[in-house]
Amino acid sequence: MEQQVRSVCELSLDAEKPLCLQFMASMRSLIVNPHTSNSTISSTLEILIRSLQHAGDSPLRHHALKLLDDIASLRPSLSTAVFDGLRSSFYSSLSAGSSTFASEILATLASLSDKHGNPEIELDDRIFVSLCFLPSVTGRLQLLTNAERLGIGASVLFTVFFGLTKDPYPYVRKAALDGLAGLSRCNEFEDVGLIEGCFRRAVELLRDAEDCVRSAAVRVVIEWGTMLFAAHKEKDTMGNVVFIQLCCVVRDMSVEVRVEAFKALGKVTESMVSEEILLQSLSKITGALEKKIAQAKSSEGKKENRSQAQLTSRVLQMFASNGAGAFLHGLEDEFHEVVKSACCSLRKLVHLSAEFAAQASNLLINMLNDHTVAVRLEALETLHYMAGHGLVNVQKEQMHMFLGTLADKSDIIRYAARRTFRSVKLSEVDCFRSSVSSLLKNLEVHPQDEADTFSVLFHLGRNHGNFASQVINDVCDQLEPVFEGTLSLDSANTAAYLVLSISAPLSKDHRGKHIPPHLYSFAVTHIGRISLGLGDIMDQTTLLTYLTEKSISASSVAECIPEEHPRSPVVHDIPSQDDNKSNTTSWQLVPCESSGNIAATIVSYNQNDDTDILKYLNLILGRVRDIWLFGKSSCNSEALRTLSACKEEVSMYRPNSPESSGACAFTLHYVQVLAKGNVSCWGTTLTTRLSATISQVESLLQEGSMEPSSFVTQVKQTLNQAGILSTAPLFFKKLADTFSLGQFTLRSKITHVSAELVIPGYDSHHPLPFIPGLPVAIPVDITLHNISSEGRLWLSLTSDDGQLTQVLFLDPNLQVVSVGAKMKKKISMPAPFYGPPKVLNSARREYIPRGLSDNIAKLAIRRARLQPRETRNCPSTELGRCLGLLFKNWALQECWYYWI
């Protein structure tokens, strides 16, 4: 086809024959086909240009123009050639008297100039003016639309545009007004009279019968009105006149005009409009305005400034009858496009006056009940903007509506409402309470909003630290985990309150520091869900660091303790946290299995770095240290509850690596011992236990070549004196008072060495049959954890009456039946036990090993003896530190299970 068209083109060029429609269609196919050769396109271009010059008044010229435009668009390399060809065609059309078509060519040229950066057309002013005043309406319209791209001087353009604002055809009037609006940006007009004239013409056209003309007139009113305000000597009056003129258009019957009017009102600049006029645009009540009108009228009688007074009184009268409450009308408009425009405009004007902003926010809050989602959304967006600039102060009576948006059925509205709440300023604590309450209710109904709700609570708390402190102190009891197994830490409400509590200290008013520090520790258990909500504020590592610091902050602890319990001395410095180093930890929420299972809702920890695990456990240990202070300050019930919570937290933790497993086991045991030995046991006569513990500690210290601490020495002295003094309990009490639990910090790997003993099939109701004088084989299953093959192990069995104890040496290498991962070995063997007849005769011919009828595991642990040979070989400083710390805690009697 390309060849065929090309040959026809050549033929046409030779014969100068006019093109037919069918042939032009073929040409278009070639033009739009990217594979058509450039030479063919060039030929096509040539014949099209020629056709423009020789086609007379043929309607095909429009098609030719379109094809040339296509060529310029699809083949940018040819755009210059198209441009030049069209320019020559333009002048030939002019000389041929075809002014309408010349205008059309000008429009195409202007379009090319815009699209391809071709040079300006630089049309002669005289030609432009003569074209504008020719009868063709289309031609005028095209000329006006493209006038600014034709290189015409601004003064000529102004004259033409201004004149054509009275064109009988509305679209020409509109184009002329648009031209005037465009000219306002060229900064070439300084003559006040000229500006005033243009402004007046636009004001006249605000009453045009056609919607499109009125819309364009609104644009001119604001643009030239602003210029008039800048140039006029009576600035104050002129600024108000412009504003009032626009206010009088906001009740136009056309939606388009109303939208445009509010857009224009948004362009009113500072100092252009007086505050009282601005405020009147929000209220239909014109009492104050009427007084002002009366004043202006009375001034009319005076000679000086008479015309000014007349102007003022008339403008104000017009405002009172047409423009008062303009924004109120806009916000109540039937069409959401208008409401949106009014809201956008308000956003820009609220900076002009604080009173205006306050009244505007009242109106906007009332709009939150609008039946259209788009309107509610726009109102919220505007309130959000205003709140961000501190311009929203919600009144108590408005809270109902404001809070209603938090429960809105629409996700978008709820989201927007929460966004607004983030930055809103509440004046009263009751408003704050109801806000928090509504957010929590919303959380119940829409659990999917949790992350965002937490974020809002955080912002809300940070913005109102004192209110947050009050709320948290009121609900503090509800946040405590219930001791007897039922924990409420996993509820969304609890987590939400915890978010609020951790946000308060970041408040500017610094009053949030009265948050009980253990709440920060509780918050750690929710770190996954909380950090999801606070993603826009801080990352998880930062949050964890923050919570760590707050929860172990001695000062915080001291502040929450009543005055009658003075702060106890802290023996050891709190080690600094090794934070912000590893970011490889990932947290994820685990679905809740049951409401009572705290573990289910707590984060599952993906251990990519043991440092994080230690950090986590150190937090728990830090909290335990804090609890000690609670215990000492007679807050035993609280201390027990918190200890229980800590125990739960650690026990639910599922470590993957042996190292973290050891650390967890240690922490769990540490907490269990504290909980069991409980600070409430002060004064109980524990001389025997203490003696045993001290001897164990001394043994360990000897192995580690470490010196006993002053407390150990003191305990030892007390024990010696206790035997001879009747007032021993008092001594112990005094001793206990001087003790302060140090912050235990896990710094490196801990290996948990342990053994479990099970007697399969054994039941305390069915004791093993035993024939006196014959040995009995007791089947035992032993599981060893982290015990090397070099270790030596004895199993000691004690008879039920305690008269007979037999010790059996176990060789882990010989009796191992399986070796699992993590240094876990299992041994199954029959343990021989022999009792002499004379001893057992008195035992009803039955023999039950002592303890088997009790807790088997406990017995097994107690009776398993590990030869601590390895420890002598590796007395590291860490071990020393560990034991040193443990030594101070007399409650930790079984610390020797752990090896570092």
Binding site: P168, V203, R207, L331, T372
Partner: protein, 382 residues
């Protein structure tokens, strides 16, 4: 034709900012006004001149006589209840009714069936649909009170058969010279403002109209017109009303607080218009807030009206028209009909009961039962 631009820039700014002189209006006095020699417009105010109720104005434009509205005065039970039609001198060319409220249409059956007017009657489609409901309900209440009205149910039926329904912005040619056109007035479903033109004289009779849209109706709309006379409703001309959003907020808060506290809310209201507006308001709020408290309406008339409202969507506001494809705003999910046996049923509820004036019927009965309890609430929407 094309006019060359006015290049004279030395215009007086005051001209452009001067208040346009108000359109010529007349005082609506209950008497003949002197005929205007220039316009050829005469006005006979038979009702609603310096009073509320019984709207009825007869205007003669260039020899053509139109009656705008034919209402009754509910505050009177004597002859004052109806316009004094005997004052009309000569025949009417047509009657135009603006909306279905009784103070605008109540006397029409009497005028056509008793007085004997037999000329054309124009009203919009919704007005023609809803007016018989209002009239029949009014008749039923009157009979219940033992008041004898000047027309019967058959008169209503016969009267409505004579009505020609019109659409908005539809040019109606009455005879050779008179042209009338209806414009949207808001206020109630089907309310219209009427433009009338005879020769070179033209006028607008507004009837009741709203400039602020509400939950189910838009604001009044009219073309830019050059008029010789405007007869406008002016009952609230000097009243500055609270923002509708603020009123709604207060209303909803009061109702919400009451039902949350376990109370019952009685809203005495007329069955048409205000009831539907409040239904939509509460329905929307109930839906958004996920409230489950039942909302009742007591009148069978309301049920019937709701059916009409569902079918006359093009007369509602933009929002309802926009969402019609998704949901008909008059398909209420929470609003259900009420049975008298439920008056003392336990639990909170909202009840719309007629009549709105608490002058008798169910609204008064329920009022007596519920008002003594402090937890209950009576809302008078006006």
């Amino acid at each position: 034709g094309f006019s060359y631009p006015d290049t004279d820039l030395d215009l007086d700014l005051l001209q452009s900012v001067t208040v346009q002189p108000p359109a010529p209006t007349i005082s609506l006095l209950n008497s003949w006004l002197p005929p205007s020699p220039v316009m050829g417009i005469e006005c006979l105010v038979l009702g609603a001149g310096q009073e509320i109720g019984k709207s009825c104005v007869v205007v003669t434009i260039n020899g053509k006589r139109i009656m705008f509205d034919c209402g009754m005065h509910l505050g009177h039970s004597d002859d004052e209840r109806y316009p004094d039609f005997s004052l009309i001198d000569g025949s009417l060319d047509c009657v135009v009714i603006t909306h279905f409220h009784l103070d605008h249409i109540g006397a029409l059956p009497y005028f056509t069936e008793v007085i004997g007017y037999n000329g054309p009657i124009y009203m919009t489609y919704p007005t023609k649909a809803l007016a018989p409901l209002m009239l029949e309900d009014f008749l039923r209440i009157s009979v219940g009170r033992g008041v004898e009205e000047k027309f019967t149910a058959d008169d209503i039926s016969a009267c409505m058969k004579k009505v020609t329904p019109i659409d908005l912005k539809q040019n109606i040619q009455v005879g050779k010279d008179l042209q009338i056109r209806a414009y949207y007035a808001g206020h109630v479903l089907g309310a219209a403002m009427v433009y009338a033109k005879v020769g070179d004289a033209s006028m607008v009779y507004t009837g009741d109209y709203n400039m602020t849209p509400d939950r189910h109706l838009g604001a009044a709309q009219i073309d830019p017109l050059e008029l010789d006379l405007v007869i406008t409703e002016s009952t609230y001309a000097t009243t500055v009303r609270d923002s509708k959003h603020a009123s709604e907020r207060k209303f909803l808060k009061a109702v919400h607080d009451c039902v949350v506290a376990g109370g019952k809310v009685l809203i005495p209201t007329f069955a048409l218009g205000r009831a539907q507006e409040l239904f939509i308001l509460l329905e929307d709020y109930w839906e958004r807030m996920n409230l489950k408290v039942p909302i009742y309406f007591s009148s069978g008339l309301t049920r019937q009206a709701n059916i009409y409202y569902k079918t006359l969507m093009s007369w509602t506001n933009q929002k309802i028209k926009d969402t019609i494809a998704l949901q008909n705003a008059f398909n209420f999910k929470h609003v259900v009909s009420f049975d008298r046996s439920q008056i003392n049923a336990p639990g909170s509820c909202v009840l719309f009961a007629s009549p709105g004036m608490l002058s008798g019927g169910l609204s008064l009965e329920v009022f007596k039962q519920w008002a003594p309890s402090k937890v209950n609430l009576v809302m008078l929407p006006g």
